[in-house]
């Protein structure tokens, strides 16, 4: 029982850690793409990657100031969105899906290629790019803080303070945009492209603007993640992360301002809770009703994969039985329904 309580506590802590910020920002971007505009971006992780590497390469490789790195990362995300959108946004939705997932994988392979070592550090990765970020921290970076029974390092606390501030501002921005005429056109595009076009709206331009803005949110997420981990490696940006973000979005409720945030927090609670609960299950002498030992079935390294299995199954079941998630409105998310 004590193990379960510990797992619960770790789960609650994970709801606020920088990984949750990362996925919240990815999902806010996806919400704009998928929830509000109906775009199938399956390469959101690529935006995070250019964002994170924007800082890492600028600071660690080119010795530029931190804020220039942020600008570089955001600029790279805008360029990536334009490159992805130009060929695909006039075509049917699944073409964007294929191109984005392919680009995300291609970029990861490009960044980890031996040939790009001089710029990206390839699989060795990049380090030492976030020190100036921590010099702005108003409290002691190396100090320990106890908040409601959870323990945080000063540096972690600084990352998540900035991170959740960005999330808050992003939510406010999305909320304001979706009340504006611009947001209403986006939703019109989602519901019926032809009708929006008939009203004289340039559907292509609106889709492109949505893709760029959502990509910027993704890049911001990548930056929080890069600063939080303190190192950059192409393999941190596996494709599966995009689908974790989709899981967060659909769990919380697409086309709702707070849907992706609540989804990301819940997702990380589930991941951290199941990770530590499974770890306790596997390491102890626990058997399944006397039939088999859990420790024989799963090794401790397997536990890291279980999260993806849970998310994959969860994504399927949610999409089939409750596509609106927790907060959403079923009518708004029944894309292409009969």
């Amino acid at each position: 029982m004590g193990e379960l309580l510990d797992a619960f506590q770790l789960g609650v802590r994970a709801m606020f850690a920088y990984q949750a910020v990362f996925f919240a920002l990815l999902a806010i971007g996806l919400n704009l793409h998928f929830g509000y505009t109906g775009l199938l971006n399956f390469g959101q992780i690529a935006f995070a990657m250019v964002g994170g590497y924007g800082i890492a390469i600028s600071v660690a490789q080119w010795d530029l100031p931190f804020w220039v790195g942020v600008v570089v990362g955001l600029g790279a995300a805008v360029i990536l969105a334009l490159l992805l959108g130009l060929p695909t946004l006039r075509l049917r939705a699944d073409y964007l899906a294929i191109v984005t997932i392919a680009t995300a994988e291609a970029l990861r392979l490009l960044f980890r290629s031996v040939g790009s070592t001089e710029v990206t550090g390839s699989t060795e990765g990049l380090f030492d790019f976030n020190s100036s970020f921590f010099t702005w921290c108003p409290w002691s970076v190396s100090g320990r803080f106890d908040i409601l029974g959870t323990r945080w390092r000063g540096s972690e606390l600084w990352v998540i303070t900035i991170g959740w501030s960005i999330v808050l501002l992003s939510c406010l921005l999305v909320w304001a945009l979706m009340r504006s005429p611009w947001g209403r056109v986006l939703r019109a595009v989602r519901e019926d492209e032809d009708a929006a076009r008939a009203l004289g709206k340039n559907v292509y331009a609106f889709k492109m603007q949505s893709l760029v803005l959502g990509g910027i949110f993704g890049a911001l997420g990548g930056m929080v993640y890069a600063v939080g981990t303190g190192s950059q490696n192409p393999d941190q940006y596996q494709n599966a992360n995009t689908f974790l973000a989709y899981g967060a979005l659909i769990l919380g409720g697409a086309a709702r301002v707070l849907g992706p945030v609540i989804g990301a927090m819940l997702l990380w609670f589930i991941i951290a809770f199941s990770d530590s609960a499974l770890a306790a299950l596997v390491s102890g002498d626990n058997s399944f009703f006397g039939l088999f030992e859990w420790g024989d079935l799963l090794s401790t390294t397997d536990i890291a994969y279980i999260r993806f299995i849970i998310i994959g199954l969860g994504l399927m079941l949610l999409m089939i039985f409750r596509p609106q998630g927790i907060l959403g409105d079923r009518r708004e998310v029944m894309l292409d329904a009969r």
Partner: protein, 454 residues
Amino acid sequence: MTHAPDRVRREDPRRTPSPSTGQAGIPGHRSSAGRRTLLRLLLVTFFGLAIAALTPGVASAVGEQVRGTLTTGATGPIAGVTITVETSDGQAVGEGETDDRGRFSVPVPGPGEYVVTLDTDSLPENVTVGSAGDTRTVTVEPNGREPVNFGLSDGQRGSGSDRILAVQLFVDGLRFGLLIAISAVGLSLIFGTTGLTNFAHGELVTIGAIVAFYLNVDADIPLLAAAVIAVVIGGLVGALNELGLWRPLRRRGTGLVAALVVSIGLSLAVRYVIQTVYGGRSNPYLDYQSQRARDYGAFALTDRDLYSIIISLVVLVAVALMLQRSRIGKAMRAVADNRDLAASSGIDVNRVILVVWVMGGALAALGGVLLGLSDQIQWDMGFRLLLLMFAGVTLGGLGTAYGALVGGIIVGVFVQMSTLVIRDDMKYVGGLLLLILILVVRPQGILGSKARIG
């Protein structure tokens, strides 16, 4: 989810909510079908786990061993070669001799690191060990049967001076492209007949390779027989996909976009189930590993690659003939072309779709076995191939039957030949750039029609 050609993403307002002819059920039958859906879903998702989890169970009774096959192109399997195994600190563990099929297996006392030595004196004349020498150090996992590969040389290799790199890469690309084409036929036909962009198709490829791996390496079945079994299981998994998941979803009226997300969830879950069961390492099959490339003038090819090309060609011609001549093939093309018209001319659309799934699953499994033969088996091999399959299918024309064939071959050749100018570890990047380029220039693909692209 409904068929794509005549429909853009959005709802067609003229379509009535009644199920189309192909999926007409008995009225009032819907609710019980709905209740069964959940059960079927659970079944389909755990199927992959079940196969993979049961197979190694056969092996665990045997205990740890190291094993391998000694054979070269010129001599065939080499019998009577002595293999000695020592622990990493030099203690003798056991000795073995290769049998008539060139195989050896030496039991070891438990998991750990072992040094395997080949007695070069017992090798036939002209056969020498490769540059890596006559010892291999291997790590045996719990209940593992660790394959050991001595790269034997039969002295035929020295004459490769007149090879031309471009021709060599072209032939390699042809082999790879045929393999992509085989795997992608199902992807394209499934898209054509149901409108589903199946992101879980790569996992069908992986399942094929992994099933053949367990049968070959753990259950000791020859690879040819293992491949046949893997293809049959691939077909069954395809059928299970359709019957357990996609048909009920079509009946529920799930949208195309929702179905696409479901297929992604399925892909993710199955992929990581495979990683949990199989692990993150990459392994070769037991058979046909120690082959040396045979010289054909401008290029050289191992026998296994040659047979891979021949098998792919034969299968693809058979598929093309079936599509062109047989009743079911014509029905498939008719449904892919216009589903409602096909249904109203008396074609049982659901049956056709089931056949497409079985065929697609079986072909993908075959592609997986061939890919495992040339590139070793990995848990995410199918997912990586999927992106090239998409490139091929898009290039050829999404939803067309022959588009996948043409596009797959072009992408394969392009990817291999691109290593003339770019680094080897970036060749997939080239293939994916090609995909983006196609979409700019000719989004409907080579054989596609404009109406499909929305």
